[in-house]
């Protein structure tokens, strides 16, 4: 039976300074500490993965986020237009006349 999608509860002890760094990072990224911990553990595991494996995980997270934001099924033309607009916006901010 596949274990993909199943979760387990883990209790662990962390040095206080490490925990404080994690809570600070979670605050800055506006995320739950538990959510950030999952990401950090996944990133640690990914240190030994191939480029495809690494990017598949990024893609999975990114697509899930786009789905939550209602943007996953945007047409490619719309995505290109958004990227064009973003390029202009950043260029105007970085290089004002």
């Amino acid at each position: 039976m596949s274990s993909i999608g199943q979760t387990v509860h883990v209790t662990l002890q962390l040095p206080k300074d490490m925990y404080e760094r994690i809570t600070q990072a979670a605050l800055m990224e506006q995320r739950q500490v538990e959510d950030l911990l999952r990401t950090l553990i996944a990133e640690g595991l990914e240190a030994h993965t191939t480029i495809r494996e690494l990017l598949e995980h990024v893609s999975e997270d990114y697509r899930a986020r786009l789905a939550r934001e209602g943007k996953l099924h945007q047409s490619s033309d719309d995505v290109l237009q958004e990227l064009r607009d973003l390029r202009e916006q950043i260029a105007r901010e970085l290089y004002p006349r």
């Binding site: 990914e46 480029i51 064009r84 390029r87 202009e88």
Partner: protein
């Protein structure tokens, strides 16, 4: 056209975004980024880095940066583009953002930009680099060996 294997190429923001979205209209973006990255040398200018940063969460960006470090080589260019070159390319008809990219690549002497943005080709006739679609880039990499 020669293979781009071993060449330093710039990958436009749309290549990263379409690859990560797994956009069905541009499947070669995924192939290029996920499977061919270790065959190319990547040039990452400030403008494209900022665009990626705007689109991706910090944890997503960190992992994309890590993937890029697994390319044959990666050059991070955090220097702003030269204003005089931006103005020059704008005078040639480029929109400001595209003029910035063109100025970055010209100074770094990058010969190839992989992009699904056809504006570069429409706006400018005398680009200092060749614009390839991700499909063309994958084909050129395949011709140079698997």
């Amino acid at each position: 056209m020669n293979s781009i294997r071993g060449e330093t190429v710039a990958l436009d923001t749309n290549v990263f975004i379409f690859a990560l979205r797994k956009e069905p209209n541009f499947p070669a973006c995924e192939t290029l980024l996920f499977d061919k990255l270790n065959a190319i040398r990547v040039y990452m200018p400030l403008q494209i880095f900022l665009e990626l940063q705007w689109n991706l969460r910090a944890s997503e960006m960190r992992r994309v940066v890590r993937a890029l470090t697994m390319a044959q080589a990666v050059t991070w260019d955090y220097a702003p583009a030269q204003i005089d070159l931006i103005r020059q390319w704008e005078r040639h008809g480029a929109r400001k953002g595209d003029a910035v990219i063109t100025a970055h690549l010209e100074v770094a002497a990058i010969r190839y930009l992989v992009s699904e943005n056809r504006d570069f080709l429409k706006e400018l006739t005398a680009l200092p680099f060749t614009v390839l679609s991700s499909e063309e880039a994958v084909r050129l990499l395949s011709e140079g060996g698997s």
